[in-house]
C-alpha cells in the first residue's frame, strides 16, 4: 500500500487504531505503518496519528499526485458534488431530527448522483476510486436495516466516507478548506 494512501487515511481519521486503519484501507498495512513510524511521519501511541513532518510529506505527495491532472475536470467534479452534497446533508438532517423513513428512501438517488462524480475524479486521481466501494459498503449496511451506518462517526458510515470524500475533492480541486469555506461550500 502506498505511503500516500496510508498517510492520507491517518490524516483524515485524526487518531486511529492500526486495526481500524487496516479495515478502512481493506488491506494489511502493518509494514507500511512500521516504516512510516520509523521515519517519524506517523506517531504511534495507543492510536496512530500524523506528525508535523508527516503532514509536510503528505502535502508533497498530494502535490505530486496532482501534477499531471486536468484541473478543469476536477473543478467540474467538485462543482457537481456541491449540489448533491447539499441534498445529502438535508437528507441526513431530516433523518437525525425526525427519523423520517422518506429520508432513507432518498439515499438511492444521492448514491446514483455521486457515482459519476467519483468516476470523473478517479479518472484524474485513481486513488479516489476507493470511495466508490466504501460508500457502497455503507449503503448496503443501511439497506440491510442497520441505519447507524448512515451517520455514525468514527466508523466508515456513509456520512464519514462522504465527509472524507468532500475533503479530498476540495484538496484535489486545488482549494484550501478556508477558500472553500469562504465560498460557502465546505460545510
Amino acid at each position: 500500500m502506498s505511503e500516500l494512501t496510508v498517510l492520507q487515511a491517518v490524516r483524515l481519521k485524526g487518531r486511529v487504531s492500526p486495526h481500524d486503519l487496516a479495515a478502512a484501507l481493506a488491506e494489511d498495512v502493518t509494514n507500511t505503518v512500521e516504516r512510516l513510524v520509523e521515519s517519524g511521519l506517523l506517531i504511534e501511541s495507543t492510536t496512530l496519528r500524523i506528525s508535523p513532518s508527516g503532514r509536510v510529506r503528505l502535502d508533497e505527495l498530494l502535490t505530486e499526485e496532482r501534477a499531471g491532472i486536468d484541473p478543469s475536470a476536477l473543478a467540474t467534479a467538485y462543482n457537481d458534488f456541491h449540489s448533491v452534497n447539499t441534498d445529502f446533508k438535508a437528507l441526513v438532517t431530516d433523518w437525525q431530527l425526525n427519523r423520517d423513513p422518506a429520508a432513507l428512501a432518498r439515499m438511492d438517488g444521492v448514491h446514483e448522483r455521486v457515482l459519476p462524480i467519483i468516476a470523473a475524479a478517479a479518472a484524474q486521481l485513481p486513488r479516489l476510486d476507493a470511495y466508490r466501494a466504501k460508500l457502497l459498503a455503507a449503503l448496503e449496511k443501511i439497506k440491510a436495516g442497520d441505519t447507524a451506518w448512515l451517520t455514525r462517526p468514527l466508523v466508515d458510515s456513509y456520512h464519514t466516507v462522504w465527509f472524507e470524500l468532500h475533503e479530498e475533492l476540495i484538496l484535489a480541486s486545488g482549494l484550501t478548506r478556508e477558500q472553500a469555506a469562504r465560498s460557502g461550500d465546505a460545510q
Binding site: 485524526g14 438532517t93 437525525q96 478548506r177
Partner: protein, 526 residues
C-alpha cells in the same frame, strides 16, 4: 372588507390576530394608524378561486382606500400629501416571520416628488428604495419592473399576502406547531391594509418592539428593542443592530412615557403581558400591533403571580396560565434566564445540537485532546470542521464553529455524538474565544462567558412554586401537601389523580403538590 375603526368587534377568527388587535386599540382611543381588514373568510375563498374572489371584493377595497384617505387627509398615488399603506398578513394564530408583509406601498415617481417637497429628498428616496426592495422580494417581479399604478401595486400585494399562506415555510410552520386545520376548514389569513407611518422619517423617528414586562426572566420591567430612523421590518429581521428600549427613554422621554402608559392599558385590556410593535414618526407615537407575549416557563410563573397580585387575573386564571408542562420544565436543571442574561455574550450562531455545557475553549484538535486527557472540560472551537476533527469533537463537551449551518458536517456529527453545538458564529470567533472559560447554550445558539451553573426550581424551595401551590390548595378538588398525615400520591399521571379523586380523597402528600393540583383542576374542569 371591515373597517378597523374600533366598532368592528368581530372575533379573532374573522379578523386575524393583527386586525383584532388594531380594532381593540382603536376602540380604546389609542394612537393607531387607520386600517381596514379583508377577512379570513375572504382569504379562504381567495385560495379556492383567486381571480373571481378578488374581482368580487375589489370595489370594497377601493371604498376602504377612500376611507383611509379621508381619515388621513392624504391621497393614494399622488400629492401634495400622498397616502402610502402597508399590506400585512394577519392569521388567527401568530406565525412570526412566516408570512409576507409589504410596506410603503403606493409609491411612484410623482409620489416620490411629493414626499420630497413635503419632507426631504433623503426620506423620499429611502422610502422608495425600501418599497422597491420589499415589493420585488414579495411579489417576485424583476428589478425595475414595479408597476407605477398604485392600484396595480395594491392588487398584487393583496394577492401575494393571501398566497403566502401556502408558502412552504408557512405550511412547515403550521405542521410543526400542529396548527393545521381539518380538510373541511383549510384556514387562511386575513389581510390588513393600514396607512403608513414612517420610522425612517427623520432623527425623531424610529421603530421598535416592546414587551410590557420581561418575557424571558419575568422581571417587572419593560423589555424590548428600539431602532432609530428605521422601519419595523428591520427590527424583527435581525440584520441591523437595534438598541435596548431604554435608548428611546433617553432620546424621547415624553414618547417613552406615553408608550409605557399605553403598554399598561393594553395589559389591563388583555389581562396579560403584551408584545407591542410601534413606530415613532417625527416625535409622534403610533401603535401598530399588540398581542399576548410568548414567555419562558420562568416568566410564565412569575408573571402570572404578578398579574394576580395586581388584580388583573383571579386565582383560577392564574393557575390556568401555568401548565403542568411549565412546572415540569422548571423542575429540570437548566441555565436560568437571569443567570444567562447576566453573563457577557461572546458569540451567537445557530443551535445545532441542544444542551448547555461549559469548559475551556480550544481551537486546535491536538490541544483539545491533550486537555481532555488531563481531565479538563473542553469546548472545541473551529473555523469549520474537517474529517480529522471528529476525535476532538468526541473528547469535547461542546462544539462551536465559525462557518456552517444547521446541516453542516459539524452539525451532523455533533448530533450523532450528542455534543452540544452552536454553528455559524462568524469568522474571528475562534481567535476571540481561544483559552477562555465559556458556556455553550445549544438551545439559544449562544456562547457566554464563564462556567455558568445549571440549576432547577423545586416545589419545596422555590417561592414562586410554593405561592402557586398555596393559591391552588383552596380551589383544587384534591389538596396536595408536602407533609402531613395524608395518603401519599407520587404518581401525577391523569389516571392516578383521577383515581384518587374517585376514591374520595381530599388531601394527599406528594413531592410535587403543584403538579398534582394542576392536574386535578384540569380534570375537574373537563
Amino acid at each position: 372588507m371591515v373597517l378597523l375603526d374600533g366598532s368592528a368587534n368581530l372575533p379573532r377568527k374573522i379578523l386575524g390576530n393583527k386586525g383584532h388587535g388594531i380594532d381593540a386599540m382603536r376602540r380604546h382611543k389609542l394612537p393607531v394608524p387607520p386600517a381596514f381588514c379583508i377577512t379570513t373568510e375572504v382569504g379562504v375563498r381567495y385560495l379556492a378561486e383567486p381571480a373571481k374572489t378578488l374581482a368580487t371584493i375589489w370595489d370594497d377595497v377601493l371604498d376602504g382606500m377612500s376611507w383611509l384617505e379621508a381619515e388621513t387627509s392624504c391621497t393614494f398615488g399622488r400629492g401634495p400629501h400622498p397616502l402610502l399603506v402597508s399590506v400585512r398578513s394577519g392569521a388567527t394564530h401568530s406565525m412570526p416571520g412566516m408570512m409576507d408583509t409589504i410596506l410603503d406601498l403606493g409609491m411612484n415617481d410623482a409620489v416620490e416628488r411629493a414626499l420630497t417637497s413635503a419632507s426631504s429628498a433623503e426620506f423620499a428616496r429611502d422610502t422608495r428604495r425600501r418599497f422597491n426592495r420589499i415589493y420585488q422580494h414579495i411579489v417576485g417581479t424583476e428589478p425595475g419592473s414595479v408597476p407605477a399604478d398604485p392600484h396595480a401595486q395594491l392588487r398584487a400585494a393583496i394577492e401575494a399576502v393571501f398566497a403566502s399562506w401556502n408558502s412552504p415555510r408557512a405550511v412547515a410552520y403550521r405542521a410543526h406547531w400542529g396548527l393545521n386545520q381539518s380538510p373541511a376548514d383549510r384556514g387562511s389569513t386575513a389581510v390588513v391594509v393600514q396607512a403608513m407611518v414612517f420610522g425612517n422619517h427623520d432623527a425623531d423617528s424610529g421603530s421598535g418592539a416592546l414587551f410590557s414586562r420581561n418575557p424571558i426572566t419575568g422581571a417587572n420591567e419593560p423589555f424590548g428593542e428600539w431602532l432609530r430612523c428605521g422601519q419595523g421590518d428591520e427590527v424583527v429581521s435581525g440584520v441591523v443592530d437595534v438598541e435596548p428600549i431604554t435608548a428611546l427613554r433617553d432620546e424621547q422621554p415624553a414618547v417613552y412615557d406615553e408608550l409605557m402608559d399605553a403598554a399598561r392599558r393594553l395589559e389591563r385590556l388583555g389581562s396579560d403581558v403584551q408584545e407591542i410593535e410601534f413606530t415613532v414618526d417625527d416625535g409622534k407615537l403610533w401603535l401598530l400591533q399588540t398581542r399576548a407575549a410568548e414567555k419562558s416557563a420562568q416568566a410564565t410563573a412569575r408573571l402570572a403571580l404578578q398579574l394576580r397580585r395586581e388584580g388583573l387575573i383571579d386565582d383560577t386564571e392564574t393557575l390556568g396560565r401555568v401548565t403542568r408542562a411549565h412546572v415540569e420544565t422548571l423542575l429540570l436543571p437548566a441555565l436560568q434566564p437571569e443567570t444567562r442574561l447576566a453573563a457577557p455574550l461572546l458569540a451567537k450562531g445557530m443551535p445545532a445540537c441542544p444542551g448547555v455545557v461549559s469548559g475551556k475553549a480550544y481551537t486546535e484538535v491536538d490541544e483539545a485532546l491533550n486537555a481532555a486527557d488531563r481531565g479538563e472540560e473542553v469546548i472545541l472551537v473551529r473555523d469549520h470542521t474537517r474529517p480529522e476533527d471528529v476525535t476532538g469533537m468526541l473528547a469535547a463537551q461542546g462544539i462551536v464553529t465559525e462557518v456552517g449551518g444547521a446541516t453542516s458536517h459539524a452539525a451532523v456529527v455533533s448530533r450523532e455524538l450528542g455534543r452540544v453545538a452552536v454553528v455559524g458564529c462568524g469568522t474571528g470567533v475562534a481567535a476571540a474565544l481561544a483559552g477562555k472559560q465559556i458556556t455553550v447554550d445549544g438551545y439559544e445558539g449562544e456562547v457566554r462567558e464563564g462556567n455558568l451553573a445549571l440549576t432547577a426550581w423545586s416545589e419545596g424551595d422555590t417561592p414562586e412554586l410554593r405561592e402557586l401551590a398555596d393559591i391552588a390548595r383552596p380551589i383544587s378538588p384534591l389538596r396536595a401537601h408536602t407533609t402531613g398525615e395524608h395518603p401519599t400520591l407520587d404518581d401525577a399521571s391523569d389516571a392516578a389523580v383521577r383515581a384518587a379523586m374517585d376514591a374520595g380523597l381530599t388531601d394527599v402528600v406528594s413531592a410535587t403538590p403543584l403538579i398534582i393540583m394542576l392536574t386535578a383542576l384540569r380534570l375537574a374542569a373537563r
